[in-house]
Structure formats: C-alpha cells, structure tokens
Symmetry: C2
C-alpha cells in the first residue's frame, strides 16, 4: 500500500489565530505596534505588474538591507520564510549524524518536531529548577546543539559568556543559537561568528520588527556555514521569499530608529506588567523577551486561562509536564496590559474569596 | 569535525533573473501579462498594520478562493510557496520507501535534486525518441512516480488516458502529476482524484496566473493524502504563506475571465511562433505549454543562444545529454516574439551565408 511509505509526524501546534477581532490577542508574541512607516510607503509604491516575474533567488535586496543595518557582509547572511523556515533548513543541513542533538527540555517546542520530521536522534536536557541552562550539560558528545537565547517560553536569558562557553566546547558540532527574542533584552551572539565557524545565529522579523505576517527570518554565520545552508535551500525551493517579503522586509530592517523606539516601548510595558503581576501574587522567571511566563502562587492555571478567555483575552498555555502550570502572556500595548491586569485582579480576587 | 555531518547536495540551477530591464526575457516561462486586475486593487487596499500578526496557518482565504473557482472541496486542496515547495513537501511526505521512485530522464530537473536532498532512491526512465512517455515503462515495481504533464522542457503533453493508465497501474505508489503548464493546452487529471486515492495533482500560479513573484502553488488529492502533506508542512513551518500571498493569491484565482483571456493570448502567440520557427528551419516537439523547445536543423544551439544574448534576448539552454542541442523559448508578447523571430532570421541567415 502507498500508505506504508508515508512519513508520519506529529506536527507543531501554533497558537490560535482567531478570526474575531474583538479580542486582546496575547498568545503568539506578536508585536502590538505596526511595522516601520517605510513598509507602508513601499507597499503603496509596489508595482503589481512585476509579480508576473520570479523574485530574485539570491534575495539580494533584503540581504543587502540586513547587511547595511547589521554591518555584516552579505555572504554571512541567510534569509528564510520566518525563522521556522531558517531553523528547518539548518536542521536539514547540519544534523545528519548518528549522534543525538541536544536542546533543553523546556524550550521552543518546534525543535523536537524538526528532529522527528528529519529522523534526527535527539535528547532533551533538563533545565535547572529555576529554568536556567547549565553550560556543563552541553559538554558531552553530541551531533549538534540548539539553544534559544533568551529561551522560550521561559523568557529567561543566558549571559553571552555562557553561550560562548557552549560554542567553544563543541567545535565538532554546529551550535544553533535561536535569538527570536534577543532584541528585547539579551546580548546577541552575532559578534562571535567571526571567532567560531560552528556557530549559527538565527533571528526573526516576526517579533521586534512587527513583521510576523510577512514571514522573514535570518541566520548569520561564517560564509562556509551559510553556503552549506544555501545549497540545501536551493535544493528545496529556488525562490522561497516572494517579492513583498523582499521589498517590505528590506524596509522593515532599514529603520533603526523606529525599531529602537518600538522595542523600548514593549520593554517598558513589560517591566510595568512584571510589577503588577508581582502585586497579584504571580511568580515568573525574569523575562528578557516580549512575553512573561507566569504562574500564580495559589490560583490554578487553567482557571485563569479560561476566565481570561471569557473576557476576550487570549494567552497561551502549554501542557508539557514542566509547563502545564504556567501561562505565557505576550506583551501588548499599555492599554491592553492594563486590561489584562484588571481582569487578572478580578479573577484572582473572586477565586480567593470563593476559597 | 562538524562538517562531516553536513548534508551535501548539488542544488537546482534556476534560470537567470538579470537586473537589467533592457532585455527580452524568455528564459523562465513567465507570463508576459500582469496578474488579474483584482490583485492591483487588493494590493492598494492591503492594511500594513496587519503584518504585525501571524498569517492564518490554514491559508483559508486562499484555499476558499481555490475551492470556489475549481469547484473542489477545501479538504482536497494544499497550498505552498510555489509548486516547488508543494513538490518538495510531497517528496518528503510520500517517498520514504526502499524502492526507487521513477520519473522521465528528460523532465523538470528539480525532481532528481529533491530525491538527492531527501536521500530517496530514484531511476530516470528514458523518454521515447520523440520525447513522449510510454506508460508501460511505469508498470514496474516502484516507490512512487512523478510525471509532468505537459512535460518540461519538452512542452509535449500526454493524453489524460495515458496518465490514468499509469495511476491505475500503481495503487501501491503515490503518483504525482505536475501540471505546471496544463492550462496552456493539456487536460488536467484533477477529475481523477475522486477515483484514485494515490493521485496527487500539482499546479502553480507562476505561469497561467502571472504570479511567479508571489510564490503560490497548489496540490489536489483525496483528503487523506492532503492531510498527510499538511502534517509534514506543519512539522516544517507553521506559516509558509505570508499575508500578501494569501490575499493577492485569492484575487489571482478568482478572476476566471481574465485568466482565460490571458491564456488564450499566450496560446495564440505560441501557435504563431511555431509557424515562424518552422519556416526558419527549426524542429520541435508540439508544445502545449507557454514555451517551445526547439532545435535548428543546421545551426548550432550555442551559437544561436549567444547571438540572441548579444541582441538582448535571453532564452534557456540545458546541458544534459538529451537537451544540449535544444533551446527553450518562453512565449512572450506578440511584439517580443516578433523581435525574437526577426533576430533568429538574421542569425540563421548570416550563419548559412558564412557556411
């Protein structure tokens, strides 16, 4: 039967994208602010007749804009359809050995999905009790490493020295550092790519650049590493990035001032939210991202989740053994977060009174 | 060393996308006409603030538009980032056996690249001398089949009865029918999907719908087949289609009248071009596509190619043993084709005089 040849997988479950608009949507770590104004202008100027042609397979317009903004040569930059596409290509390119790849037990839950998809052996290394990473755990034989910094869904960052420690200890493996949230408060490992040819740093336009809907992801590494990934990419799909992604992505990355202002606003809102959550009896790892991973000291997670949902506030709940008591709350606008805190206050008060 | 784990591949080489505009570009089978007018309107109406959110992972807007236009239920439709993405996902999903997959020796040269990428054993079945397919060649044990109809780069179509013959004879294999060019003159196998659960029909918006720059591809099959592909897709990237691809793709497929007019214009120009090429001493398989695969009876292929290039006309030349004497000329506007024929006339005359 043809079905005996089918690749059977358990896909990643993305956060809900509800079609109702009457909702405070804090479940997928989207940026509450629109993309840079240049994106609007480029959208209005876009020539629809050009769509009849194939886009540039080298993505030069976008790669050049990234190169200018980051001050990194073009042959050290890879672009993909969101960082998911970049990470999938990196797994496919670099993790083909017999030895297992390693990543934390609590981290982005797509890593094990890619490993399963490509039949890559893997082991999930337990984070410490406080959700931090012990670099010593990654100084064992392995076929590759994946470290999210800051980590998700915990929000916790590692100092760059810990990342470098791991990269330095593993010259025989490619180390992927997934920096989806780095702009909100951690130090990027990009400066280390000159020093370590086994380091691949992955970033995304989906969070700090407000371009989740455009699907733009990046990787940085030495030219040899990037070339291997490009060979795999060109063996998968010659033209992964469509014209709007190239044209509008370039505008989104060029506007450094808007980027910094937006990130600063999200960070300020996050810090205010932390204080309020504290007052309400929540505990959480100290977030360096655009979300907070929190647990209430007395009130049950699922109760809070469903009470928020009743009030048209959508947050994210994972169900793995170590995440099943926690809520992941994305940082929205000040107004949205005031509404969330008011709702939580009401939920927790009524529950405490009922006990 | 980390390099010992790298997946080493020889990528597909897409046709050149030159940055100069002063060129008659007939090398990548693009449509000479712009997308449907609804695409322009939807582009102008697009809300850039929505880009901060993730796109709908189910691609419902686009899938619904395809469903309406084709009269096919939504659970029988898969969408991807161009038909290359759709085909890559199909290879990854369905071809995991020990037995080799089969496809013609002269066909879309990405099939063997995907097979190599995913380490799928394969065998290239020689086309007959006239470039036609013998269905009997595909009635042997195999792990899957890929048939382009019409075939590329030959341009030759098979009757639907030959396709059905192959699908019927292979209930133990998934048969992919790649219909990238079907709208220009062949009969689609889509009506057969109800009858055969092992049939996957792949189409693209890049040719007949003038949307190469937007990267939209389709597959049609029974819900079980589509579900297997979706599982793999969601294990690779939750959101492959960005917002412009969903919104503008839906507009491109809805306008049936524009589509039919555009295709009819390309077909009329192709038929005129065939007659002119005949007069100039070219031979070619009878094309049912938006290109002609032609060889001159006396003048060498590479000479014609480079003389056209000197005149700012870009066509495509492949270099496999059975394609190295042939030119693939995409069908442009009437004006472009008149210029090509005039240039060829000059090239052939001067070469014949010099002999």
């Amino acid at each position: 039967m043809w079905e005996s040849n089918v690749r059977r997988v358990t896909p990643y479950t993305p956060g809900e994208q509800p079609k109702t608009s009457n909702l405070i949507k804090l479940n997928t770590n989207e940026n509450p602010y629109p993309p840079a104004p240049g994106v609007l202008k480029a959208l209005k100027d876009m020539d629809y007749t050009s769509f009849r042609k194939y886009p540039d397979p080298t993505c030069d317009l976008l790669v050049s804009a990234v190169s200018d903004t980051y001050g990194i040569a073009k042959d050290r930059i890879f672009t993909g359809v969101g960082s998911d596409d970049v990470l999938a290509m990196a797994f496919l390119t670099f993790f083909n050995g017999e030895r297992e790849i390693l990543f934390p037990d609590v981290t982005y839950s797509f890593y094990d999905v890619w490993a399963e998809l490509f039949r890559i052996p893997y082991r999930q290394v337990p984070l410490k009790e406080d959700f931090s990473i012990d670099p010593e755990d990654y100084k064992v034989p392995n076929g590759g490493l994946v470290i999210a910094n800051p980590n998700a869904p915990t929000g916790l960052k590692q100092p760059l020295s810990a990342i470098e420690d791991i990269v330095r200890a593993n010259p025989a493996s490619v180390v992927i550092v997934d920096e989806a949230y780095v702009d909100f408060g951690a130090e990027s490992a990009i400066p280390l790519i000159d020093k370590y040819e086994n380091l691949l740093v992955v970033q995304t336009f989906s969070k700090s650049r407000s371009m989740a809907g455009m699907r733009v992801g990046l990787a940085f590494g030495q030219p040899k590493l990037i070339k291997y990934m490009l060979d795999v990419k060109y063996s998968f799909n010659s033209y992964t990035m469509n014209m709007p992604a190239l044209i509008l992505g370039a505008e989104a990355v060029r506007d450094t001032q808007y980027f910094e202002e937006t990130v600063a606003k999200v960070v300020a809102t996050r810090e205010w939210t932390k204080k309020e959550l504290c007052k309400l009896g929540f505990e959480f790892a100290d977030s360096s991202t655009n979300f907070i991973f929190a647990k209430h000291k007395t009130v049950e997670r699922d109760y809070i989740f469903s009470e928020l949902r009743k009030r048209n506030i959508l947050v994210r709940a994972f169900n793995a053994p170590r995440t099943k008591d926690w809520l992941r709350i994305s940082i929205g606008t000040d107004e949205e977060m005031r509404a969330v805190i008011a709702a939580l206050e009401e939920i927790i008060k009524s529950e405490n009174n009922s006990v």
